[in-house]
């Protein structure tokens, strides 16, 4: 699909979220909920006392919004699957450049995910919650996040060139 059309589609979904819910979309919040639920099942006391876990343990005080992000991300995985199915792009495999092994690519993927997890927590959001949602609301902090993230990614890109090209 034309990337601009895909962008317009995503923009209309985000606009729909604002009109329907009064708030935008997110992704890293769902990971926070999952991590909190995991910690609560292993060490409930630690989860209840350490704030970043406790804040995502659902109860009536915070309303449905932490659940909301989890269900939304569940929808994203379903939507992505259905789209790829319809277009014949469902395929088991690893996306990488020709010069690295699968194993190296998977290690990079896990490491990159870990670093993003820390960054998204520190910034209170990721590409969805900060860049898209906050960006469309003209939030000052979100635009700082967008510029910082892309500047850092370009600065670090030579380190990972082998992985992709």
């Amino acid at each position: 699909m034309n990337p601009y059309l895909a962008g317009v589609g995503i923009g209309l979904v985000l606009l729909g979220a604002f009109v329907i819910m009064g708030r935008g979309l997110g992704a890293s919040g769902a990971f926070s909920s999952a991590a909190a639920a995991g910690m609560a099942s292993v060490a409930p006391e630690r989860a209840a006392t350490l704030e970043p876990y406790a804040a995502y343990l659902g109860d009536e005080r915070r309303g449905p919004l932490s659940d909301w992000l989890v269900i939304e991300i569940l929808g994203v995985t379903i939507g992505g699957f259905v789209s790829a199915w319809g277009a014949g792009r469902l395929r088991r495999g690893v996306e990488k450049g020709p010069r690295v092994s699968n194993r190296a690519r998977l290690l990079y993927a896990f490491g990159g995910g870990t670093i993003m997890g820390v960054g998204a927590k520190l910034a209170r959001g990721c590409t969805s919650g900060q860049a898209l949602t906050g960006g469309a609301l003209l939030s000052v902090g979100s635009w700082i996040f967008i510029i910082a993230a892309f500047a850092a990614a370009y600065a670090a890109s030579p380190l990972f060139r082998r992985q992709w090209t």
């Binding site: 699909m1 990337p3 962008g7 317009v8 995503i10 979904v13 729909g16 604002f18 979309l25 890293s28 990971f31 991590a35 995991g38 910690m39 704030e51 970043p52 876990y53 309303g63 269900i71 994203v76 379903i78 939507g79 992505g80 790829a84 277009a87 469902l90 690893v94 996306e95 450049g97 998977l106 993927a109 990159g112 995910g113 870990t114 670093i115 997890g117 960054g119 998204a120 927590k121 520190l122 910034a123 990721c126 590409t127 969805s128 900060q130 609301l137 003209l138 939030s139 000052v140 979100s142 700082i144 996040f145 910082a148 892309f150 850092a152 370009y154 670090a156 890109s157 992985q163 992709w164």
Partner: protein, 206 residues
Amino acid sequence: MNAPLYEIGAFGETGALVFALGLGIVFGWFLERGGMGNANKLAGQFYLTDLAVFKVMFSAIVTTLLGLYWLSRLGWLDLPLVFVPPTYLVPQLLGGVVFGVGFVMGGLCPGTSCVSASTGRTDGFMVVGGMLFGVFVFNEMFPLLEGVYRATPRGPLTIPELIGVPFGVVVFAVVAIALVAFVAAEKVELHFRPAVRSGEALGDGR
């Protein structure tokens, strides 16, 4: 004024979760159609061979921004009631830098990693796992990071409020910058995209 619908009590919490699923499905569908579930395509953004990330993201922002302005201007959406994520200058600058390094290393972002995983890519699963581990690392280090995490709060601050310019003027400026940047992005791609790969890069979903 009759929106945001949830804030005026048009439906309850079960209804909200139904909308969450529906909006998520369409979001995921467009992400996949835009090629955003593919780490190779996303990484092209940082080597200037494929600027789809920039095009998708910026056109989404412009679409939503125009929609917000015009729905508000026509009196259909009560913008002050929309939740704006609060600004924290230092943690969002630092978090952005950390996030950006992880983005180019992992090749996917949190939302797109879910699409990549659900379409069968193992690297997508690994980014999902890494994200969970990263959240765990942050949470365990929280007592150390709390000072930075809470530094420089500015509340729900927006650019029009910051520079004292009407909302509509900023909307115009963002649209103008976007249109110029899109033209530039097409030129950059023509310059950097390897000739042999151009057909492949376009070949999704046509």
